[in-house]
Amino acid sequence: MTRSLDRRSLLLLAPSIAALGGLAACGFSGGPSSSPGASGSGGAPTVPDLVYAQSVPISSLEPSGKQPQAYPAGYEAAFAIFSGLVRFTPELEIEPELATEWATSEDGLTWTFTLRTGVTFHDGTTFDADAVVPYFTSMLDAKVNLSALSLWSPISKVIKVDAQTIEIVTEEPYGGLLNTLAHGSALIPSPKSVGGKDFALNPVGAGPYRMATFKPGSELRVEAFDGYHRGRPAYDSITYRYVGDPAGRLAALRSGQAQVVDAVPVEQVDTLKAAGGIEVIEEPGLQVFGVGLCLTTPQLQDKQVRQALNHAVDVGSIITAVFRGHATAMTSPLAPNTTGFVDCGAYDFSVDKANQLLDEAGWAVGAGGVRAKGAQRLSLKLRTPDGMYPNDVRVAQVIQEQLKAVGIEITIDKIDKSAFWDSIKVPKADVDFDMVLFGYNPSHGNGAIQLDALYRTNPSETTTIPQWNFQWYSNDAVDDSITAGQHAVSDSAKALEPAQKAIWDDCPYLWLYVKNNIVAHSTKVAAPVVLPVVFTLPSRSE
């Protein structure tokens, strides 16, 4: 009945397992060693090969057209490989990069840029007007520039004056031109490489680092480019690794597998600060969060109701409890360091005021503690993505509870983040939500463009919304002010003040918070440059 082991079978098994194992082992990424290099104190970086664990994967590096994917990880790597004419400082000012100086004409329509000399791309091509003009001109083409056209559309043409000088002509004065040129879509690839078959996988730029290896979705490694115009950069190599799980990122940082991590969850900031050998960088961000209030919903068409909502939610407690203090309350539709920001005051937290406004608006508390007016109940659907914004679902739950206290019943509609944008970018008739938790990050830092994207009247009710005015807000005075702001070459704040104040008063949003960008790094390396537009740039370390 029993049978002893068939030796031949066993003999077969062993080598096959070994072979499989060998094959599999070949796939080891063999990346930088997991322990950092020699120790040292502050100042100059002492780790030659830096590992940066990112919260978002890099899947493609094409700077134009579809844009480096994904945001912000793709951009962060793109900024290492490419350079633009200008770049942002950490305070979101503009400083020269491949352009040394610029001037505007009297009428504000022509900008003249002087290009830097002695710059070469990674493949040896010289940088001059012939690298810039054709590429920028292609970015004006709607068929090529699929994802950032709104930043480039005010430009009518780009002209080469001579090898070191170019002119950019706009149809109307465009105050945000420099923001556009500092944006990821204006990073300049080597003209020899553009249009090549594997352009997205083998980008060639004039940035401090050149591409070494790329495994889309998991890892990108770049190596120092000796010919960089500011001199050899700080690290021999930088490896961008995707670690989507925040706990995993922090574990990698603490175990030495990574030296820089982004998107530190607010819950871990204190633990990290207390841990030795780690420094936490916290900067106020530009990303504003709020709950969009749909003006297609009858209950929300009354401004008093919307203002009551703003008084009913205790944003301070959300900041303290959910964000552990690492956010600030909004005082304008724009974040404080967005260009054009004007302080519009605050909606103080007051349940009494909220109740009073709702009573005055005719909503009396009815059955089940929910307010009603005639047959209509103040019962609303709040849509939130899951995992798209930090603590999105938690915040939705807090809002649900706090609004319950003033007699408003909220049902939460949690949507997968990959379906979220499609679900709110719909024509007016297809709106199936009342409130939407939404965050907007102006990657260009430009307040006029932000207000235009969120608050300009939608051109047509029968087509999909062109940008992000999913709550169908419309105010002509606001539109005019936004247009003025877009044209203002300087002091856009003055031009945008009427728009901001009107929007703030109209409350198309339940205003929430501006979150901080929190990044952590090992003390063995210098702090990376952190831009408020959520970019962490170890490539800028010098």
Partner: protein, 301 residues
Amino acid sequence: MTTSPVTDANEPTGPAARTPAAEPVGAETATRRRAPWPLGLVVGGGIVAIVVLVAILAPLIAPADPNAQDLTGILLPPGPGHLLGTDSLGRDIASRIIHGARFELGLVLPPLLVTVLVALPLGMAAGYVGRWVDKVVSAISDTLLTFPSLVAAIVLVALLGNGTVPLMVTLVVTQLPAMVRYVRGFAKQVSSSQYVLAARSSGSSTPTILRVHVLGNILGQVLVIASLFASEAILVIAALGFLGVGVQPPNAEWGTMLSEGRIDFMNAPHVMIAPGAAIALLILGFNLLGDGLRDRLDTRG
């Protein structure tokens, strides 16, 4: 050696070519000396019964409203006032666990019932009648079985969206092929038993035979399998909740509680320990119950 078909947890008989591997239950009985009520059955049944009771009585026994937030008292460790502490929004964890029992059972048992109700006729037809009915049913279920259930669940929920109904539909869809295979196997076995052969020769009609003899004889085994399926379903729900897919907030489903508590794990581990333990306990209960039922069925011969 017994001839019961695959009795091991969670993945059923594979494609028809293989003879089911029987975990020799006889050995277990030998060491247990034929106890009339196997310990596993008692313990497992007890656990499940307690959870059911908790679920039914939840509003009465929970110390607080599971959704009541207290933003000034977040992440409190277990102590007076909050037996299991509070979570990241200051909600009482003990109350959430108690109410969560409703979700676990409510998400798992109805789909299981549906699965059994649909699989019984299909499987019995395939196993008893055989021939082309069997071929069709087996071909379809074998093909569907090739999709690992968690992977199928992820894909299905991505398509159907969040919420209780899509989750339940997903469970039914992933469990049905396996259940059909099992029922078919049981029915086939019983078909060649004395009773059935006798009934046939005495001229009973097929529906009667199916109803009286086949169904009656396979119900016990189906119960065993159902119990094991329940434990797997809880694991799938928890895994989906962990991956961020699941019921709408603020509902206190245990898997979602695990996922929510993850980020605070380092400084407030208690947020994850309770839901994790609850999940494990319920899975354990169903496992023991299934094993115990199987033992009891076998000891009765």
